[in-house]
């Protein structure tokens, strides 16, 4: 930037107008603009809006993955082959409960605060507690840079996380209270919602919130006649050159001991039989994941409160 140009600072909305202050070496000039409806990021000096990711200018098309044969990371198609998962509870000391999950390159962490008094007194429910969920992506988590402002995708995922967790938590045991679940996606390498559900239920268990059962998530991607379980980011987002009927993704949140589905979300286009088969596959994937999660939880509990030594 040339030396004599001004620096534009914008401050938060004050009494209905957006006030921009332009400082230059000579004088300070105040501009008042009309408030705009879109939420803008007032804390950072943004670069020009026309910036683009260089991946758009790649020579060969990025989405030319084969739909047969083994997958890029060596797992099998058409089999319940989930990525090996690393989980740890109790990483954030300030939170009541927390959990971190890594599956392949997907990294998420979740913190639970509560039960505590409801912030907004007019929303206090006398008979049962409230569960609020918030799922955010770090801007550097996806191959394309996202913004810090919560887009509609974040809100949508937060809502689905809420719907998946609500049946499992014994909210009637926490009247007039609020339990907050915050999930932060550090790296998005596919099936983010499924792992967020698992991570959140682990964090709730770590916080000592009473639950009926752990909620586990699993997702598949249907591609023509074959499917892949626990897809990576490239597997999820590629547009297949073969424009066949069955193309879509499905995420299921499942309570294994109670055999109940607490969350289901699918998009793309699939035949009804494919959808049914996909749900069954996801349930199998959840059963595979269950022992690992249980072990991690037991380990965390033993670490926090070691059993009395036999003497």
């Amino acid at each position: 930037m040339p030396r004599n140009s001004g620096i534009i600072l914008s401050s938060r909305c004050v009494s209905g107008g957006d006030i921009e202050r332009r400082t230059s070496s000579h004088a300070a000039v105040w501009f008042i603009t009309f408030p705009c409806a879109m939420p803008t990021d007032n804390k950072r000096v943004r670069g020009p809006e026309v910036s683009q990711s260089p991946s758009l200018f790649l020579c060969e098309p990025a989405g030319a993955l084969p739909s047969h044969g083994p997958r890029a990371d060596g797992r099998q198609r058409d089999q319940v082959d989930v990525r090996p998962v690393f989980v740890r509870c109790g990483l954030v000391s300030q939170a009541k409960g927390s959990a971190y999950i890594e599956a392949g390159n997907t990294k998420l962490m979740c913190c639970v605060y509560g039960p505590r008094e409801t912030e907004r007194k007019d929303e206090t429910d006398m008979k049962c507690g409230r569960l609020t969920t918030d799922m955010r992506f770090a801007p550097f988590s996806c191959p394309e840079r996202g913004s810090w402002i919560q887009g509609s995708q974040d809100k949508d995922l937060s809502l689905m996380l809420h719907e998946s967790l609500q049946p499992a938590v014994c909210l009637h045991k926490y009247p007039r209270s609020q339990i907050e679940v915050n999930v932060m996606v550090l790296e998005n390498s596919g099936s983010v919602l499924a792992h967020a559900v698992t991570c959140a239920s682990l964090a709730l268990a770590d916080a000592g919130i009473e639950m009926y059962d752990l909620v586990l998530g699993c997702s598949i991607r249907q591609d023509g006649t074959s499917y892949v379980v626990d897809p990576t980011y490239t597997e999820e987002n590629r547009c297949s050159s073969v424009s066949s009927e069955n193309q879509g993704g499905l995420t299921v949140a499942f309570l294994p001991s109670l055999n109940q589905i607490s969350g289901l979300q699918s998009d793309g286009e699939m035949a009804e039989e494919t959808l049914t088969a996909g749900v069954r596959t996801c349930i199998e994937g959840c059963y595979k994941l269950y022992p690992v999660i249980q072990q991690a939880l037991a380990k965390a509990v033993r670490k926090a409160a070691p059993p009395p030594s036999e003497s």
Binding site: Q52, L56, S152, Q153, K155, D156, L159, M160, E163, Q166, P167, A168, S243, E245, Q247, G248, L250, L255, L258, N259, Q260, I261, S262, G263, L264, Q265, S266, D267, G268, E269, M270, A271, E272, L275, T276, V279, R280, I283
Partner: protein, 291 residues
């Protein structure tokens, strides 16, 4: 969603009725309420439709604009959905109250149309990488009596059937830049093929059975619902569980099958009705909002 308070005795009454396949207003478990559809109600739009399903009234207006295509898909146009819950429907929607419900509805609509076959996006391209048609689908909820997804999807299908996209002509001007010319004839327009557009069916789990087109009272007795978007061929474009309860896998399979059956049966009469209305042309008696 606008909710009603239902007493325990009323809940038991509704539950027992549904168990015997008899709902409070006399319908069977898979019957819709009386539905009225009218297209071309708002003259400022390029396509519009109003749907009345029982006491739920939804108005959809479609405006076509020329915009820049998305960087990753340079030879396709796109649709933008926006759902506005008007404060007329219920006082809960005043100010920003209806925003949450509106975003939930718009996000589901994006998912429903997020596939290659529902709308032919390539026909919306004007010149690859530079200009394309953007269809802004704006949904307005005027009255809310349950079953918003179904009414909205039928209204969108009717409005897109009614949409007239003007034909454009690209010509090169003197400096070598491209110039867009709109045809002078107002009837020279392109229509969209809505055959493959899905319709949403909401199935509410009440007791051990599921009901289609639940009223607000029936919704208050259910803990979970399944939303399923079905095309006329029976393909499922979006399935989603809503509500704070959990469902048995067997119920989900039953509900998807019922949803597919009901959804498939909805398309043929709807297309017939839309074509009939279209063929009336000028002789069509407009009912508007006062009928």
């Amino acid at each position: 969603m606008a909710t009603v308070q239902v007493s325990e005795a009323e809940k038991v009454y509704i539950l027992h009725g549904i168990r015997d396949d008899l709902r409070v207003d006399g319908r069977g478990c898979e019957d819709y309420r009386h539905m009225e559809i009218e297209t071309d109600v708002v003259s400022n739009t390029d396509g519009s439709a109003k749907v009345t399903l029982g006491h739920t009234v939804v108005l959809v207006g479609i405006k076509t604009e020329i915009g820049k295509p998305r960087p990753m898909l340079p030879d396709e146009g796109y649709l933008e959905f926006f759902v506005d819950c008007s404060a007329n429907a219920t006082p809960e929607f005043e100010g920003r109250g209806g925003e949450e419900l509106g975003t939930e509805l718009s996000n589901t609509l994006y998912k429903v149309f997020n596939n290659k076959h529902s709308v032919d996006l390539k026909s919306l391209c004007i010149s690859a990488g530079e200009h394309c048609w953007v269809l802004y689908v704006d949904v307005l909820l005027l009255q809310c009596d349950g079953n918003l997804y179904d009414a909205i999807s039928v209204a969108i299908k009717a409005a897109l059937f009614n949409t007239k996209i003007p034909r454009v002509h690209i010509s090169a001007d003197e400096e070598g830049g491209k110039e867009i010319e709109l045809s002078d004839d107002p009837y020279d327009c392109m229509r969209l093929n809505v055959e493959n557009m899905p319709c949403i069916v909401t199935l509410c789990k009440v007791g051990h059975r599921h009901v289609v087109d639940a009223t607000l009272q029936e919704k208050a007795c259910s803990v979970a619902s399944l939303i399923i978007a079905v095309t006329h061929k029976g393909t499922v474009t979006c399935a989603r569980k809503v509500g704070g309860g959990s469902l048995d896998p067997e119920s989900i399979f039953e509900m998807t099958e019922a949803g597919k059956r009901v959804g498939k049966a909805l398309h043929a009469p709807l297309m017939k009705l839309l074509q009939q209305e279209e063929s009336l042309g000028k002789t069509q008696q407009k009912v508007g909002f006062l009928g």
